[in-house]
Amino acid sequence: MPVLVRIPTPLRTLTKGNAEIQAKGATIDSVVDDLERQFPGLKERLLDETGELRRFINIYVNQEDIRFLQAKKTTLKDGDEVSIVPAIAGG
């Protein structure tokens, strides 16, 4: 299941500077595993010691926050776009 993953600046040191990566996986969980295969070290940046998504990272599938979907179990289809976005302030 190829999907496009957008990588934020803080993680691009691991992706050789690439802002967009093709990854495979039927769920967010498996996409994270595939990213780790391609770019070792990426997974521990995204997940904490307990395997949960780090507090200050938001993941979106086609612009929708995965916390409004099935979180890390959210299923993906061909051509979906996954964005990894650090939390930002506002007002």
Partner: protein
């Protein structure tokens, strides 16, 4: 005086040089300005502050500015008002209103954060500033960019109140209305900030920007005669302001400027239609569940607040609490403040007044303790919120007899 050590991750403590970056590369935690408090102790005194200008810049030593102030020389030092009529109405002994609805130049507390961010953008040599905004930040960034003669790109949700749109456009920024919620605008801006080399005040300039809010807290304490109130009720959107007011009080304590021990309780006020931080407080959990906003308090309509976790921790650490207000209660809160104190605040101020009232009625805030209400924006920007709630005015021909008849009618209606 060397007062800054660069930036530091609030979560894992990693150090970074002072630069326009906001996220820890390792854990994604927010970066925060790291001050050398040892160098500031004894240098920043009540007297040195009192000798400063009547603006937020009297606290410049505690803000992350190295050089001269570029813009917003007159921001801050807004009135702290003893609200005796409101106190009577609420059945309380001592109520104060910190009134940033008259903050210069764009009528909200956002001028404090933007003055710091735009000054910093100049220091780092940027030619363009930008922001995602629910309105007040848009007004302020556009105003200060005009003063700094920088280009500005302002991103807002397309359904923003007309008053806030006009109060942005007047400064000639590039205004981009995005079909979506503020949270969607914010996510988009995060991606835009990654691509374009702009000073996004609430993204890559967040560590500097957010420090400006501390001045609101410093002023409360100084204007109370270097006393801290027992309670401060703060409206929460992204959750940064409540965190920074608390930080300001702790810094004053750290620098030896407070005689008393830290005894202020911080309370969060949010709309029921968008209250994820208060929900955390009520459920006593540090896990934020994002919501889709549905409230008239659009300036607080952030369903995924970046500082929600820290806002929750602030209320917890200080022994405070939080309360939601319905749209109806928000309007009542706006009307109550106007009727008792002659202050016209926007919907966010209505949230603060309404939440405070409920906290008082629940006994969470005792009636005999001092309370500061944070009023952070001006009602003239959002008149639509009250349109249907205000009595129609009397219309007459220009004759004395017409007025006499109208007056008699009014008296018979109210008797």
């Amino acid at each position: 005086m060397e007062k800054l050590n660069g930036l530091r991750c609030r979560e894992c403590g990693r150090h970074y040089p002072a630069a326009p970056v906001h996220v820890c590369e390792f854990c994604f935690g927010p970066l925060e300005v790291d001050y050398r408090y040892d160098a500031l102790r004894g240098v920043v005194t009540r007297e040195s502050i009192a000798a400063g200008p009547p603006s937020m810049w009297r606290y410049k030593d505690l803000l992350p500015i190295d050089g001269d102030i570029a813009v917003g020389h007159h921001v801050g030092f807004t009135p702290l008002i003893r609200a005796r009529n409101l106190a009577d109405e609420l059945g309380c002994r001592e109520v104060w209103v910190k009134n940033d609805s008259v903050c210069h130049p764009s009528w909200s507390f956002k001028d404090r954060v933007v003055a710091v961010a735009v000054t910093k953008a100049r220091e780092f040599g940027f030619d363009t500033v930008a922001c995602a905004s629910t309105g007040n930040l848009a007004n302020s960034v556009a105003a200060h960019a005009a003063e700094a003669r920088l280009k500005s790109y302002i991103f807002i949700p397309a359904d923003l109140e007309q008053g806030k749109v006009i109060a942005t456009l007047v400064y000639s920024p590039t205004l981009v209305a995005v079909h979506g919620t503020y949270d969607e605008v914010n996510r988009l801006c995060s991606e835009i900030a990654d691509k374009y080399r702009w000073a996004f005040v609430n993204v890559n300039f967040r560590p500097y920007y957010s420090e400006g809010s501390k001045s609101y807290g410093f002023e409360i304490v100084e204007q109370l005669g270097w006393r801290t109130p027992a309670h401060i009720v703060v409206p929460c959107a992204g959750g940064s302001l409540i965190t920074k007011i608390w930080k300001a009080i702790k810094e004053l304590k750290l620098l030896g400027l407070l005689d008393e021990r830290l005894n202020t309780k911080m309370h969060a006020a949010q709309a029921l239609g968008c209250g994820p931080i208060v929900t955390m407080i009520k459920n006593d959990t540090d896990v934020l569940v994002p919501v889709r906003p549905n409230t008239i308090a659009k300036s607080l309509a952030i369903g995924n607040p970046a500082d929600g976790y820290y806002a929750y921790k602030t209320t917890k650490e200080s022994g405070g609490s939080g309360e939601h207000a319905t749209d109806e209660e928000i309007v009542e809160g706006m009307l109550l403040l106007a009727r008792t104190e002659g202050i016209f605040t926007e919907t966010a101020g209505g949230v603060t007044v309404a939440a405070a009232r409920k906290l008082i009625e629940r006994g969470v805030i005792p009636r005999d303790e001092s309370i500061v209400l944070c009023i952070t924006g001006n009602g003239l920007k959002t008149p639509d919120a009250l349109q249907d709630r205000l009595d129609a005015h009397v219309k007459i021909n220009p004759s004395l007899s017409a007025f006499d008849r109208a007056l008699a009618d009014l008296k018979s209606q109210t008797s």
